[in-house]
Structure formats: C-alpha cells, structure tokens
Subunit: 336 residues, 4 copies
C-alpha cells in the first residue's frame, strides 16, 4: 500500500510515521510539511528516521493509494481531501472537518457553513467498533477525535442498550500532546509542569458535537453531554471519567455483561476485571482503549472510565486501523 | 507560643515546620520522629533545618502550649491527644481521628468503635471558614482532611443557601504527597510518573464521611456525595471538580453573589472572575483555596472547582491558621 | 524602601515580587510590563497578587529608591539603567549587560562594543560572598548569572587558595525556567518533558566570561572553564558539577577546611557534611547555595557540586540580598 | 526459538517481554516471578499481556533454547545460570555477575570471591559492537550494564585508536527505572520528582570495573575512569557526557572520521551530524545508542555524548540483539 501523509510534522503525523514504519504492508511515498519542507524527519524531531519532507505542492496524490491528512481544521484540509479523492486515492482525515453528518449541525458548532457539503455527506465516521462495514467501503473516513473515541467506547454499550437517562457528565484529562506542537503559554514547560488545568469547560468544546451525534444515534434519542476537559502534566494519554445514572435495579453483573458481549470480538477494547479501573499506563504507546466499570453507590450511579493514548487509539493508531479495514487487511496489522 | 510536633518527618510534619519557622510568634520546643529519633531534620529531608528530632517518649507535652499531631490515624494519635490535653496544652490533630461528631457515624465509617468518645464529642472541626468561633475556644481541633477542605469550601455557600439538590459528584485529583511518605508501588516514581490513576472510587473513601457530615449540617438535610479521587503526577496540589445541579432559573450572577458575600471576609478563599477556572498553580505553596464557578449549560448544571495545596490549606497551613485563631493572633500571621 | 521593577512578567520578575511581598521594608511603587501593561499581575500569572502593571513609559524612576531591571540583555537595559541612575535612584540589573569589567572582554564575548562603557566600569559584580563591601556603596550592581553564581561559590575557595591547575570542567544542569518565558520548541512541554538535553556546549556560552573573569581574579591567573549546560525536566533548580584536579598530596580534611573557613560567616552558603552531595531539593525555593565536596580517586581528582534555585540565589533572591546590603539592612531580611 | 525468562516482573523483565512479543521468531515458554507466581503479567503491571507467571522452581529450563536472567546480582543468578546451562540451553544474563573476566578483578570490586569462576572465564561480554563473533558461539553471554554500554560506545573508537590519554571523566544521568522496582525513599515519587541527585560518585560504582576493563583492553593500556552518575526525574533514558583530552593537533574531521568508520555497519549506533548533540528523546523506546561529538576548545578538550534507553540498548533490547546473534538471526530482528 502506498501512503501519502499531509502534515507530517505535528505530533499525530510523526506518530503515524512511527507506526507505519513497522507496518508490513505500508510504504510511505511522500510526507509533507510546510515548516520543514526540503528537510528530513530527523531535522524536525529527535528521531532516527531520515524520511524526506516535501512541500504539499510537490506531493503527487496520484502516487498513493491512501492519504492521511494531519492538517489543521479548515479550508486546507477540505481542499486537500478533494484533490486526493479526485485522483482515485482514498482519504483518512484526522481533523474534525468531516466528523459531523449534518450540515446544519456542523454550521451550529463551527459557526460557518461547511466548505464541501457533499463530502460531509459521504464521509464515514471512522470508529471501527461502530462502523466497520461502512469504513471498509468508504472513500473518505473521518477519524474520530481523541476525547470522543474514549467517551464513545465507554458509553456506547449503555447507549445502545437504552440505559442512559438523557445526561452524562464527562470529566476528561489529556496529556499535553493533545494540544499540538504549536507554541502557547499554556503548553510552555514551566506553565504546564507540576500543574493541572481545566480548559473549555462547559458545553462549548467541539468534541461534544461528535459525542452527542454518535451517542444520540446509538440511543435513538438525544443525549446531553456535560464535558470538562483538563490538561494533565504528561506527554500522552487520556483518561475520561463518565458519570452516568443507570436504573437502580440493574444488577452489576448485568452491566458488566453488556460490555463483555458488546466488545467480545474487539481487538483494541479491553475491559478490566471488576474492581479494577484503568490508569494512563494501561494504554499509552498502544492502540488499546481500556475500560473500567465502577458502581459508586446503591442509587444507580456508576462511573465508566476509559484510558487511551491520545496519539494512538485517539488519532494515528486508529487511522491505521481504519486503513487496514479499508484495504481488507487484518485489522490489527502493524498495530501490536 | 511554644509548639510541640508529634510525627515531624512525614510530609505534613516537615511542611508544618517550614511554615512555623517563618511564624513570628512560634517557637518549636520539640519535634518527634520514630524513624529519625536522635537525628536532625536535615538528616530526614534535603533541608537546611537542623532541628533535633526526639522519640515521642522523650517529649514533654507540658513544655508546649499547643501540640500538632501529624501521626497516623488510630490508637497512637488518640493516646497522644489524651496525654497532651492532660497537661493543659491544646491540640491540633491532623489525622482523621476526631473529625466525625457522632460515635455511631464514626463506627460505621471506620468499622470499629472510637477509642475516646468523650474527645470525639469535644473536638471542633477545624475549618475556620465554618467554625471560627468554636475553634477559638477549643482544646482539641480536628484539622479537616485535604479533599474535604477543598470540597467544603467549594460547596458550602450552595449548601447553606439550600440550593443543592441532594446529590453532588466530586471528581478530585491530588498530587502524590497526599499519599504520604510511606513507600508503596503506587507512589514509586516509575509507576506514578507519566501516569494518572483513579483510586478508592465510589462511596468508600473515608473523606466522604466528613464531606457529608458538614454539607448535610450546612444544608439542613442529608447530601449524597459521589467521590472519585485520582493521583496526579505532581508533588503537591488538589483540584476538586464538583458537579451540581442548581435551580434552572437561578441567574449566574445570583450564584456568583452567593459566593462573593459568603467569602467577602475570608483571607484564604479567593474567588476567580467569571470565565476563569483555577489550576493547581493558583494555590500551590500558599494557604489559599481558589474557587471558580462555571455554568455548563442552560439546564442548571454547574461545575464548582476548588484548587488548594494539599500540604498547606489542606493540612499544615490550615493547622497554623487554627492555632492563630486558638491563641487570639491575627489569622494570617505567618501564612502570607 | 521604595522599589521599582522593570520587566515584571518574566520568571525572575514574578519571583522577585513574590519575595519582596514578604520583605518587611520593601514597598513596590511600580512594576512594568510591555505585554501586560494596564493589567494586573494576576492576569499574567496564576497568582493571587493584583499588583498593577504599567508600561515602562508610565513609570517614574524618581519615585523609587532602587530599581530592579529584569529586562532582556541589550539596549533597553542600558538605557533604563541610565535613566534610573540619573534620578539618583540605585539599580540592581539582572541581565548580563554589566557583569564584565573590561570593555574589550565584553566586545570579545558579545561581538559588539558596550553601549555605556562608563557604566560598565562603575558597576559592581553582585556576588555578596565576594564583593560585599563594594556592593554596599554601589550605585549600579550587576547581579550575577545563575550558572556563574553556582560555579563561583563552588570554586572560589580553591581559586583563592591557588589550588586550581588552570582548567576546570563544569557539567551543569538547569531547570527550564532558566530559559525564560519566551516560547520556543525546546521549552514546549512535550519536547522538554521526559527529556534531558545539552545546549551551547563548549566555550561559547556567555556565562563562561563571568566565570573566567571572577575565578581568574581570585586565582591571580587565568583559568580555563569548559562548560556544558543541560536542560533538566524540572521547573527550577541548578546543579553544577565542577571537576577539578588538586594537588595529589592535599588531605581531604584540608580541602574541607578551606571551605568551612571561607564560608563560616555566609548566611546563604551551606556546606554539606563529608559523604553528602547536594540535590536540587536542597536548595529550591530558598536563597541557599548548597555545596558538596567529593574526592573521586587518589590522584587528586575532586568534584565540587553546587545546588541553587536559579530563580532565587541564581537571580531574584540574590538581587534582594544585594539590595539589603546596599541599604544597610541585615543581609537576610526577607530571605528566610 | 523457545524463551525462558527468570525474574520477569522487574523493569528489565517486563521490557524484555514487550519486545519479545513483537519478535517474529520468539516464543516465551515460561516467565518466573517470586512475588507474582501464580498470577499473570497484567496483575503485576498495567499491561494487556496475560502471560502466566510461575515460581522459578516450577520452570523447566530444558524446555527453552535460551534463558534470560533478570535476577538480582548474586548467588541465585549464578545457580540459575548453572542449572540452565546444564540442560544444554544457552543463557543471556542481565545482572553484573559475569561481566568481569578476571576472578581477582571481580573479587576486588565485589569484595568476595566469585561463586563459579569457570563460568566467569567462559562468559562473553555481550556488547555486539565489540564481540559479535564470540557472542555467536557463546553459551553464556554477560549482557553489559546500562551505563557501560553508553560509555563504551562513546569511547571505544578513541580507545582503539590510542587517542585517550589515561583518564576520562564521565558525568552520567539516568532515568529512575535504572534503579529498579524495589521501593526506596530515593525513588519515592515525591522525593525524585522535580529533583536531580548525584549518587555513588567517585571510583566506587561497580559499573566502573566494566568500563575500565573494556576500555583498557581496547586501548592496550589501563584507563582511569572518573564516574559521576545522577538520577534524572524521568522514567527512562541515559545521557553520558564523556570528557576527554585528545591530541591538540588532531583535526575535528579526523575525530569524526574515526567514528563514522568504526560504526559504519552498526545498525544500532547512530552518529549525529557535526554541531548536534543527543538528547534522551533521540533514543528512548528504541534500541539505539545515539552519539554526538563536540570539540569544546582549541586545547584538545572534547566531550563525547551518548544517549540510550537504559531498558532497551542498556538492557533488554541489547539482550535480544545478543540472542539474535547467538541463534544466527538477522541482528535487527524484532528490534525496529
């Protein structure tokens, strides 16, 4: 499989390359970078990989079977997707440009109309645990956001079973790589180190749109998500704690059974034993999403916790998982 | 003021000494340590303080006006409190031995009867923002737990105003010093670093008893606390995120006014401006508890966040604040 | 004492303010900031201090007895020093504009002539342990660099005793605050975290000029310094390991005696007992420089290690120590 | 290849398993643990690997082709090596029991006679870059220490070229995993975090014996190593800075050429371009040792820096590299 990468020198780009280098069927035919065009990957990062980097204008999308877009949200991503698709190559987009299904929903959340509504309609939301069959046939896959991946895998079994009561509270924590490689005071070492900081708390974070879209579809009814993300002083990893209220008479074993059945065949979802809850260490540097279920009282309150590596299952690993599905490879190829 | 310290070589003990050394009216007359008896503080910690450490059996409680107990929960603390009080000296206890008011409540949470019920009845819960007058006259002050201090200061204004609806969810995060200086795999550097881990999630953490006791009293009705603590990869600091549901028609300004009025005279509670939420950096190395209020939707959901230094306002700083009150000193003496 | 601060919103500026707030005789009459002019200190940092910040053009140097300059190296610092001195106020400069004595030495290291040679000639190098008397009378004190402070305190006793053999190797490590608050990829959290990186290794770092100037003067002969600084993944603290070769027949006790005698009266230099070496924890958040002496073989090789807080004894604490000396206050006022 | 692992639940053991799981020709037939016997790897670490752990007494060494010993230094290791070799299986030992060639040298450094002198004589020092041919035929390979691997790869080219002048200074820094999983105050999170601490400085660290043995053999003359290790607040990674004095008239290009020629064919040694020095980020999570050469003045002083992952090239990765050589596999199998 011939691979093109647009935007190779952000954290998701370099993580993608790291995994693709171990993938037995992948060959990177080009990798673009605005900042480092003409240099090598080892000039942009402390890595031993001398992959040449080119300006996007010098990349030939027709030379690849699939392109990964690791570009900032917006016009550039949409135009690049169009150009790649026009050559017959397929696209996995890691931005949040194609994750919402509905143009009005998009316009509400992003405060402007979508630049390519027909692509929005065509794109498949790339959560393999939910849309494996559609992904296999898709030309354009919208790789899910890092937070939504963890929250959806934590809550989909309950949503599908109709057990959520209309509102969930998600207290989520992410490592700093989730904020990208662009410089900011918030991600300056001295400011982030020995600190822990909430940000974008409330009902405004764009990731909420994805969560509500997919949880609502799964449940067959709207679901209200209260979402409070925080910046953790670690490089990578997300832990999402989802507080839900289940029917009071539902037995703990019944809750557990819903999860074990739902994820029995999933290679990248791991449910911890009763009494165990996930930590970041359970998932970082792997493509796993690790779940723990905890009943917190006898009133029906539960917390469902999900741990994942924001750069792997939350981004580049899941992108490769999608690629494997799109090209008929065993889903775990290159990901273990 | 002549000060005795029992258990000087845990993290709360050494923090207490650090602050007392700057206190203009405090003189440390003895400091005990089982492990380091016969040595100096500089042998136990990388500090420049050569305070001699003695075995508790060599300390004369009659030589001090007030003793701080930084001992492990249990029999030793109770016995030491009795011995000190018998000499006429007063006691500030930093364990959780005297924080619950009711012997049955105590027995329920700790699974055994209290060893000195008469002291339990006499002890004053040492949250100055709530019991300043009682503390002034107390012989025995039970210094609040680190988590409860942050949660109570976050929620008392709403509880007192009768606005809490019977249940709150507290997602709390603490630095590793909160787990003490005893060695454990969980606090081994390689295990805690680059990690983030929930622990004791549910309705079992003993700090819940304190929170429910004081919030319930303030509200005049039982309040159910769902509490999920996590271990942060930092040395010190607590951030508690408290999710509450307020009456839907309550205006944001009205909520804010409740806090500004409640804490107008409090030297160690700081309310951030609308739109700002606290980070650990707002409070560490100070005796402040810093609060932020965030409405998260138009359904009445709010999150109240509190940041404090678990070793200062959450332990030793608050203990000194209590001492100042007990001895009629300005409350901020030595704490700014 | 009325204090003016130029450049209050870098890390040395805010640290200076933190310590001055506890200083019983200091009153801050103005604090300037280009970026945050018109705002308060609490807008620039997560602190509870609402000190107003003004543009430098709005500050009246005549209103202060002493001004601290925490400005970037170069023209602005020189001009500001001139303006302040012209009003009769005194200056403590924290940049490296006035640390070298000789205009040619300056021109060699900085590759351009000095903008105010008469001030260079007048300035006193503000290491109290070396120039206490001159500092007392100085109009303009050049506060030493963070690395040089640690290296000079580590090696001056040997240099003064004529025991250094012409070359020392300094392997130094600094926390990230030493690199300032300006954004850079090197100090981006994800790049600095879990990393350790040498930089400016060799004979090019400008701090070498200070070290060689003062060690050479103390020894009465030129001394060649090989200097390798590294960035540590911590917020604050410097550990400098200085490898020297002493006369083979010099007894360990004799070496130790040189240090104990040299620093017997110094309040901010602490020599650890034989067998102990300093760690960052020995000095951070204090104005101490903590020394350890270690003979490493029977051939005369020794390593002298010095630990200090780069923002305190390496910058703002030492600046206040200098101010105390300049104004006849006890040297430790506000610094313990 | 059937693999046995003794001591699977230390950090080198679990790292070994992580890499062997990706090795296409390796099958783990048993893994022992005293503490976790009867449990699974996922009970000992936050990993998704359910490898069963057995007591060493339940392991059959005859069932494996090669055994890795990740046991503590001493009697147990020696006895286990004897038992495994007796079955005809081969051994890669990760302790420091078999690294010294000479029984007297061993007795000097370890203060007691070696328990199996005939094995000491037979063992091959497992640095592939030095003893590849002997490793291929060895029954017993002594995997080098983490520090010595970095220092030897940094200095062997100069030693072999006869350019070292009899003494080198090594200022080395290691992540905390190098200190193992046994609990200690030094590796307690709160003590190691935001800290940096020298330890075992001087001529006493046992790793010096390995360095001097191999550098001396390479140079054909004794070499004196001054070694100062420090504990870095990171989980993994070593940076060794080696200060050497080379002939003053040796051109920088000539120095560089010695390294490029020496390591031209080495898959796991990477020499950075002139002007670049390695950071931890260059090597962690890989089997690379990354070198940088820096002339520091015009007097012949150079610093050679080496970065490696102490758990990979410094331990388990190198052990697998040795295994690959012993069994005739391509040396990089499973290591990229």
């Amino acid at each position: 499989m011939r691979i093109g990468i647009y935007g190779a020198t952000g954290y998701t780009g370099v993580e993608l390359i790291r995994w693709l280098r171990r993938h037995p069927q992948a060959e990177i035919v080009f990798a673009t970078s605005r900042t480092y065009a003409g240099q090598r990957l080892s000039d942009a990062f402390a890595v031993a990989d001398d992959l040449p980097l080119v300006d996007a204008s010098a990349a030939d999308p027709a030379s690849c079977d699939v392109a990964f877009l690791c570009l900032p949200h917006g016009e550039t991503t949409i135009r690049t997707a169009q150009e790649v698709l026009a050559t017959g190559a397929r696209v996995v987009d890691l931005s949040n440009d194609f994750r919402l299904r509905d143009v009005e929903h998009y316009a509400t959340w992003f405060k402007h109309p979508h630049g390519a509504p027909e692509l929005l309609a065509e794109a498949v939301y790339g959560l393999p645990e939910l849309y494996r069959e559609q992904i296999a046939k898709a030309r354009l896959v919208a790789n899910p956001g890092c937070y939504p991946t963890s929250v959806l895998l934590a809550l989909l079994p309950l949503a599908e079973a109709g057990l959520l009561d209309g509102q969930v509270i998600v207290d989520a924590k992410s490592g700093v790589s989730g904020a990208g490689r662009s410089l900011s005071l918030k991600t300056h070492y001295v400011e982030a180190n020995e600190n822990f900081a909430p940000y974008n708390v409330g009902h405004s974070h764009r990731h909420i749109a994805e969560m509500e879209q997919e949880l609502g579809r799964a449940a067959g009814a709207p679901l209200h998500v209260i979402f409070a993300p925080h910046l953790l002083p670690v490089s990578r990893g997300i832990l999402s704690s989802c507080y839900v209220r289940l029917p009071r008479d539902l037995a703990p074993d019944a809750v557990r059974k819903i999860y074990t059945e739902r994820y029995a065949q999933e290679p990248f979802v791991r449910l911890l034993a009763a009494g165990q809850l996930p930590t970041l260490a359970h998932s970082v540097h792997s493509n796993l999403c690790v779940l723990g279920l905890q009943q917190v009282d006898d009133r029906g309150n539960w917390v469902i916790m999900a741990s994942e590596d924001n750069l792997v299952k939350g981004a580049s690993g899941q992108a490769i998982q999608n690629m494997n599905i799109m090209f008929g490879l065993p889903e775990t190829t290159g990901l273990q």
